[in-house]
């Protein structure tokens, strides 16, 4: 920098630097993009495509049900249609679209240039796309899952009655769930660590609160399903009897695991859309949200309560009256925080001067539909009424009212609201109205009569019905409504895709939050300079903000080293901590996703060796990606962050984003493990004796040896961290190598414990449960050993030093969890039988 540089020169230079650093590649390299603005658009488009696909499936179903005794589609096809409709809407649309939209708008809302792990976003997207095409495409080959999106055993575990479709469901969705969890980790860390300086946690836009809450919910809700999927697939592939009554299994365990996931899932879908409303309502009321604290508290409350009401999906399985009473009460209670959130919006509208633009039209429609669905939810939460309504069309109506009112309409409000921010173009007011009224009327025509159809006795999931039961007229009306609604969606699609939409002015709605700083969306840098924030609505309250941002008066105004940089701040107070260099575009995430996906797909078709090879190659690809893209030692310890402060370029331990990501991931991992433990004790409660009389028990001595080896591996990791910090590289390497060997030995010994005792996993569910826990834990030791090897290699290559030890500290964190996992497994396998 020369002293003679004028402000105008400086501005031009900085813009040139930023443009170069954040350049969007062209040609086939376009698909190596990892930046949130591009990946977010792909993600959104892909999940919307899956929505349209699943919607067409629904139209075919409605056509089949239009008249009694119809033979448009045969029973087998219909069962695939309804299963895939539910599966795709839930797993390929409702949850991913949350993550897609969040990836797209969250960084800009936080004035961050990208999320902390852009390549992880890209990896998640490619996993989602591959898994989604695999699951959705199966119907084109008449191979789709056909036993319902809930997959109840023993029907769905019966390989004679359900073909490859069930395996596609289990493995395809497990693969997607991993991607979902990856995105949740990314978003949580993004909200916690990538806020602009000054944006204390109580100044965050409400959307960020919701992302934080929902990310946390995903972390606790998806792992039980993954645990269930593991048990399920072990039964399907290897005949391990988890749900087979004859060998001690119990089909009801799956229902518990599925709904412990399935009910929070409803709120995982619902809350992000409410979050969109929480951004839209204040903007159009032209005032800050009224009751910020209330709505945050209510959202947190909803998140907590949603984990305590899963059994209301099981009111008819013959639960004890006490359980039914408890779950009825909890299900009713969740209406209270929901009521608070609704009235926060109503009060904000009443206390503002409302501009009733298209997003508000959708928001009002959403409220009308969702409130109705919420009220029928209060009805079905009462067990006696649910005994009639359960598994009838009343519930079909109820769930569509909640999901379409609580998720879809707010989402479309969000599409109209955020479209100018993403594309720089306005959607049409006129088409917006057409689309709204077609959808709103079509929806109600389709689903309102279903309440009656259900109470007049029509069960769900029937491919046909007889004449004379009083269902003909109602069903015909529903079918007509469905097509009207589809017409509305078509209008929306036309509006979004049509060329020649008018250019949007900057901040067209006069909103108050930072994402609207974005000017021309063709600029790839996200934000020109990262502002110092002192208000919940900085664009309303902080004078001259946009101009100061544009002229680069704030943090990170340029990219002098050509690196992609974003701010990392403290979790609570958002004091600047680090300038994070995020990795740039790369095909590695895509390649890793292809290989890991290939391993899941090959396993589905029983291609064991191909699956294994593809999986190992995938792990190698991930290691290469990590080795080349993360924990790089910067050329200088600190950099000028702008506004007169210098910040470190490298951080490790709890100030680093990587440490948080590891912590959060391991919380999810621990939840899956706890779900397996839950399964073990569930069997204990349903059996008079568990382990069953005369059953062999895992070898005590081998188990103890496994524990000691693992404990030693963990202790050596702690030692390695200390040795490394004091600069004793050789000792560090020795400790790491020894720790890896002990970890592997611990895993091997643990597997030997049931093996030596002759436990056969196909004999009884006890044996199977022991094996599952042992394998789970041994795999954690193996992964831990791999990480230790990675650190060892890093130390040898000079990328892990006394001051640059992020990998080592993350692996130590991993080992805390791994050691706990081993301890818990041994307690369950060795000690629990002694007390039973």
């Amino acid at each position: 920098m020369t002293g003679s540089e004028t402000d105008e020169d400086r501005k031009r230079r900085e813009e040139r630097e930023l443009r170069a650093a954040w350049e969007v590649p062209t040609g086939w390299r376009y698909f190596s993009n990892v930046n949130n603005q591009i990946v977010g658009v792909w993600y959104t488009a892909a999940s919307f495509f899956f929505f349209l696909f699943a919607g067409v499936l629904a139209l075919i179903m409605r056509a089949q049900l239009a008249v009694p005794d119809n033979d448009l589609v045969p029973a087998g096809t219909y069962n695939q249609l309804y299963t895939l409709h539910g599966t795709m809407m839930m797993f390929l649309f409702a949850v991913p679209i949350f993550e897609a939209v969040a990836i797209l708008i969250l960084p800009q809302m936080l004035a961050a240039r990208d999320l902390p792990f852009p390549r992880l976003s890209a990896f998640g997207f490619w996993c989602f796309l591959i898994g989604g095409v695999f699951v959705g495409g199966s119907i084109l080959f008449d191979a789709a899952p056909d036993s319902g999106w809930f997959m109840y055993p023993p029907l769905a575990t019966d390989t004679k009655q359900t073909g490859i479709g069930a395996d596609i469901w289990l493995l395809g969705l497990s693969f997607i769930e991993i991607a979902s969890i990856a995105a949740a980790v990314e978003l949580i860390v993004g909200v916690l660590k990538c806020r602009p300086p000054g944006m204390r946690i109580n100044l965050m836009p409400l959307y960020c609160w919701y992302v934080l809450i929902v990310g946390g919910m995903i972390l606790f809700a998806f792992p039980p399903l993954i645990a269930g999927d593991i048990l399920f697939e072990m039964q399907r592939l290897f005949d391990w009897p988890f749900f087979d009554v004859a060998r001690g299994g119990d089909p009801v365990l799956w229902q518990h695991l599925f709904w412990i996931f399935g009910h929070p899932e409803v709120y995982i879908i619902f809350l992000p859309s409410i979050a969109l409303l929480a951004m839209i309502v204040p903007t159009f009321a032209q005032r800050p949200i009224l009751g910020y604290g209330w709505i945050v508290l209510a959202a947190v409350g909803t998140g907590f309560l949603s984990f305590g009401l899963w059994a209301h999906h099981m009111f008819t399985i013959g639960l004890p009256a006490l359980s039914i009473g408890f779950f009825s009460a909890a299900s009713e209670a969740v209406a209270i925080p929901t009521g608070v959130q609704i009235f926060v919006f109503v009060a904000t509208l009443l206390a503002g001067r409302v501009i009733f633009a298209i997003p508000m039209l959708y928001a009002t429609g959403a409220l009308a539909i969702f409130t109705f669905g919420g009220l029928t939810g209060v009805m079905v939460a009462l067990a006696p009424f649910d005994w009639q309504a359960h598994d009838s069309y009343f519930v079909v109506a109820h769930l569509h009212y909640t999901l379409i009112g609580g998720m879809f309409f707010p989402l479309i409000a969000g599409v109209y609201y955020f479209h100018p921010f993403i594309t720089g173009r306005m959607l049409s007011e006129r088409l917006g109205r057409w689309s709204f009224w077609l959808m709103f009327c079509g929806f109600n025509i389709a689903f309102l009569p279903m309440h009656i159809t259900g109470l007049r006795g029509m069960p769900r999931r029937v491919y046909t019905y007889q004449e004379g039961l009083g269902w003909e007229g109602l069903n015909l009306v529903s079918t007509l409504g469905a097509f009207v609604m589809a017409a509305g969606i078509l209008v929306l699609v036309v509006d979004v895709l049509r060329p020649g939409k008018p250019r949007a002015p900057r901040n067209p709605w006069n909103a108050g939050t930072l994402e609207w700083v974005a000017g021309d969306p063709s600029e790839p840098w996200g934000i020109r300079s990262v502002p110092l924030v002192s208000s919940r609505y900085p664009l309303w309250d902080q004078k001259n903000l946009i101009d100061d941002i544009d002229t680069g008066r704030f943090f990170l105004p340029g990219a002098p080293e050509g690196q992609r940089e974003t701010m990392v701040t403290d979790v609570l107070d958002a004091t600047p901590e680090q300038v994070l260099r995020v990795p740039g575009n790369s095909f590695k995430p895509m390649i890793a996703a292809l290989l890991i996906g290939g391993s899941f797909i090959a396993t589905t078709f029983h291609g064991w060796w191909l699956g294994l090879a593809s999986g190992v190659a995938g792990v190698v690809a991930i290691l290469v990606w990590l080795w080349t893209g993360t924990a790089r030692i910067p050329e200088k310890p600190t950099t000028d962050a702008g506004m007169g402060i210098a910040l470190p370029l490298y951080a490790s331990g709890p100030t680093s984003v990587g440490w948080w990501a590891m912590f959060i991931t391991m919380v999810g991992d621990g939840t899956a493990f706890l779900s397996l433990i839950f399964a073990y004790f569930y069997y204990w409660t349903v059996h008079a004796a568990f382990p069953p009389e005369g059953s062999a028990l895992p070898d005590l001595a081998l188990g103890m040896a496994a524990g000691i080896a693992t404990l030693a591996a963990w202790a050596l990791m702690l030692a390695a961290r200390r040795l490394n910090a004091t600069g004793r590289a050789t000792a560090t390497r020795l400790a790491l190598a020894l720790a890896a060997l002990l970890a592997l030995a611990g895993g091997g010994l643990l597997l030997a414990a049931p093996w030596n005792a002759g436990l056969s996993p196909t004999r009884h569910v006890y044996d199977a449960m022991v094996w599952v826990l042992a394998i789970w834990t041994a795999l954690h030791n193996t992964a831990g050993a791999l990480m230790q090897g990675y650190c060892l290699a890093g130390s040898l290559a000079g990328r892990l030093t006394a001051t640059h030890d992020i990998d080592l500290r993350n692996v130590v964190l991993y080992w805390h969890f791994a050691a706990l996992t081993m301890a818990a497994t041994l307690a369950v396998l060795l000690l629990a039988p002694l007390t039973m």
């Binding site: 009443l350 206390a351 005994w387 009639q388 007049r456 109602l474």
Partner: protein, 328 residues
Amino acid sequence: MGATPDRRRRECSAGLVLGAGFLVSACGGPQSALDPAGEEAAEIAHLFWVMLAGAGLVWALVVGAAVFGGRFQRQPISDRAGLRLILWSGAFAPTLILAGLLIYGLRLMPVLRAAEPALRIEISAEQYWWRITYVGAGDVRIETANELRLPAGRAAELTLDSVDVIHSLWIPSLGGKMDMIPGRTNRLVLRPQRPGTYRGVCAEFCGTAHALMAFPVEVMPPADFDAWLVRQAAPATPGGDEAAFLANGCGGCHTVRGTAATGTIGPDLTHLAGRSSLGAGLMPNTPGNRRRFVADVERLKPGVRMPSFGMLAPAELDAILAYMESLR
């Protein structure tokens, strides 16, 4: 427990008038929870109408407030008034309403599931039909299939299980549903009140022909029921020639009590011709339908385990059907 089905039907009419735009057609039908014929169903229908009225009111208030605030309001309310609104309408009011509803609704539970077994019936679900066994005094077991008869005014205890996958038994006119899960036995007590013909279905998806798994329910005056049960207890009195029936293996799966047909894989056919429907509520039990069913069952009920016998010589089929006709 003073709720009578007649009163509930009047409520249904009243509800119809109230929600004229909401309800597009009547509440009636052989399978309608809104046209109750039993005590449990009547209580639940009453609960529904109460909740519907309350829900309608709440919905109108909430949506009314939002539309007013969004479109018509000219003078913004103060922040203090807004916060009060959040607290009272969003938190306090729902808490009170829901607590009241919970007490009112759950009060029904012990009533609905109370035990007083006057008559015990074991129902076992199989893909895609119902094995029904009346357990009389002295543990006399009378097996039949795919048709449930109950005495009006008496409580009946149904014990429910399944031999293959999860099913669920639902007779909306009489009461709520109960799942039938392999390895468990569930109980359901019904108190039918109004004699008539109703319909039950499988409510849990159970495979390909789930949609075709139903059964007629006949609520009879108690004296008629007792007489019917005595007739059911008796062995078959076939008038036709059983040779074709047995020669084609029908007896390998079906029992006709008192004959050489002792199979237990499929439904008991001892008094088949006396039943009102065929194939688990698939179609009326007429001679023509019986012929279609035997000849073409795989097409009529996809996924069923019984093979079609359409390949039999017409005379052979005639003989089988004549035999079935005689199983009264």
